[in-house]
């Protein structure tokens, strides 16, 4: 199964409304050990992206537009990481009007690596990187959208559960030591809400 710029355009509408719905919850979660802006970050980012008319002939340009939207609209950590990830996807799809579902795992892996380079983060530090990495593994080798969706959801939920009681090791939450235990990382939670919104 393949997807093109039009599919992304529709996906953005779903992501944007999911971000709006999750806005207060994510602000609150981020506020527990951070500055409470994660909900705004995502809502503004997807709203700005949604306003773009993606070009139909080049997925690379489409992802670049999304990246630039996040750069413009929300430059907090998460926004910049999303922009970085989208830029990586842009590089991988440059010049092509379509891509295959089977490539998605690789695209996510490229995004993960670029985000690690930009944010100097490592896996295991309880951040969005861990959930992304889990989804990369869970979807590797799959190409059926339904199967991929189920695998991604399952991996995301499981990663949140796994990390909940661990110490935060990245971002603002890092400095709260013990009190970060028992709290979901807001970036992971944001990923989950976006995924749920995307997949319905």
């Amino acid at each position: 199964m393949i997807f093109n710029a039009n599919d992304i355009q529709q996906a953005m509408a779903r992501l944007s409304s999911a971000a709006n719905e999750a806005k207060d919850e994510l602000n609150e979660q981020d506020g527990k050990l951070g500055d409470g802006d994660l909900g705004i970050t995502l809502a503004n980012g997807w709203a700005e992206a949604m306003r773009q008319q993606l070009p139909e002939d080049d997925l690379g340009k489409a992802f670049l537009m999304i990246s630039k939207s996040f750069q413009r609209a929300c430059s907090s950590s998460f926004g910049t990481l999303v922009a970085t990830g989208m830029m990586a996807a842009a590089k991988s799809t440059k010049g092509r009007a379509e891509a295959n579902y089977a490539e998605i795992s690789e695209l996510l892996a490229a995004a993960r690596d670029a985000m690690m380079a930009r944010g100097k983060g490592e896996l295991g530090q309880k951040s969005v990187l861990d959930v992304l990495d889990a989804v990369v593994s869970a979807t590797a080798g799959l190409s059926n959208p339904g199967e991929m969706a189920a695998a991604a959801k399952q991996a995301t939920g499981q990663t949140l559960d796994e990390f909940r009681d661990k110490l935060a090791g990245l971002g603002r939450a890092r400095m709260y030591g013990e009190s970060s235990k028992g709290l979901d990382d807001p970036g992971m939670l944001a990923f989950q809400r976006m995924l749920d919104g995307l997949l319905g």
Partner: protein, 334 residues
């Protein structure tokens, strides 16, 4: 409900910058919507000094653009990083042909974006640039991980001292070295009593009991490290000084400056009461205080609370700290 005087939260930052430059057209210009520069522009042959970060901290960042201080600053939304593109524009505006130093506080978003910006201007404009990162907030990481600490009041010293060095036409390497030495010599700690409200969020950044204070509070309302019943000013100051002096032991004969900074609502009156005690502590140790700073130097809008920063000085840094500077918020006379 948010008790703020503003129009649309979405236009808060732009109207604020518009107002700032309208009040002081002789000092500030706005060459891009989110970039504040000196009214007179870049100085030919001088190392450019830039900073940047979220709004809501005046005089940090835009306020410190001025002679003997910064050349330009990139301003984000409230408590949010400017974009890499804005930072790149900021560096272009500050570039006088001798390279640019980025001096700012260690926050995830800011670092990622300023790094991106540095790569961009090197690639697109051949501008050589360096980074001086402030990591002065002692409670934000253990000494072994000091490089992960966030930056707060130490920025004020780094802007001033590196700014004076650049104004004396030192080269990129020297200004960077001096900025870094200043950053390495700063230690800060904060405490808060009441929160502030981010316009776009519309509600307070945290909650505290009516008789509580939060020690170790961050500049964006990040929760502190421990909560306590509100104590007398001297006890609060002692607790803060203890933490600072644990981290940077000062010996008799050493020289430092100290900044007693209001987060916004805490009035000067209370800062003076704190200074009295902080000074006594330093004098007890035989430490000489050079140019103490007491006032609103790095705020969180209308937050109630204070931060204390110690900046240890050698002869080189002291002379630069004492040299003249001028912006709307801080003038050191010849």
């Amino acid at each position: 409900m948010m008790k703020k005087i503003l129009n649309d939260p979405a236009s808060y930052v732009d109207e604020m910058l518009d107002g700032l430059t309208a009040v002081h057209p002789e000092l500030y210009a706005l060459p891009y919507p989110r970039v504040v520069s000196r009214a007179s522009g870049a100085v030919n042959g001088k190392v450019g000094l830039v900073s940047g970060g979220g709004s809501g901290h005046l005089p940090i960042f835009a306020g410190y653009v001025g002679k003997g201080l910064l050349d330009a600053a990139a301003i984000g939304d409230v408590f949010a990083s400017p974009s890499a593109e804005e930072m790149a524009d900021c560096m272009r505006v500050a570039h006088g042909g001798a390279g640019v130093v980025r001096i700012y506080g260690n926050y995830g978003g800011d670092v990622m974006n300023f790094d991106m910006a540095g790569e961009t201007v090197e690639f697109e404009d051949d501008i050589e640039s360096t980074t001086v990162l402030l990591t002065d907030d002692v409670v934000s990481a253990k000494p072994e991980e000091a490089s992960k600490r966030r930056g707060t009041g130490g920025m004020v010293y780094a802007f001033k001292i590196a700014g004076a060095s650049a104004e004396r036409m030192a080269d990129l390497e020297t200004v960077t070295r001096i900025g870094q030495k200043t950053a390495d010599n700063c230690r800060s700690i904060g405490m808060a009593l009441t929160p502030c409200t981010v316009p776009q969020a519309g509600k307070p950044t945290f909650e505290l009991g009516a008789d509580e204070m939060e020690m170790g509070m961050g500049l964006h309302g990040e929760p502190g490290i421990w909560r306590d019943k509100l104590k007398p000013a001297d006890a609060i100051t002692d607790e803060m000084m203890d933490r600072l002096l644990d981290d940077i032991p000062l010996a008799s004969g050493d020289v430092c400056s100290i900044l007693i900074n209001s987060l916004g609502a805490t009035p000067h009156e209370e800062l003076y009461i704190m200074y009295r005690r902080a000074r006594a502590r330093l004098q007890d140790q035989g430490v000489r205080i050079a140019m103490p700073l007491v006032g609103r130097f790095a705020t969180s809008m209308e937050m109630t609370g204070a931060t204390v920063t110690i900046c240890q000085l050698d002869d080189e840094l002291e002379s630069l700290l004492l040299s003249p500077c001028h912006c709307a918020f801080w003038t050191v006379m010849q």
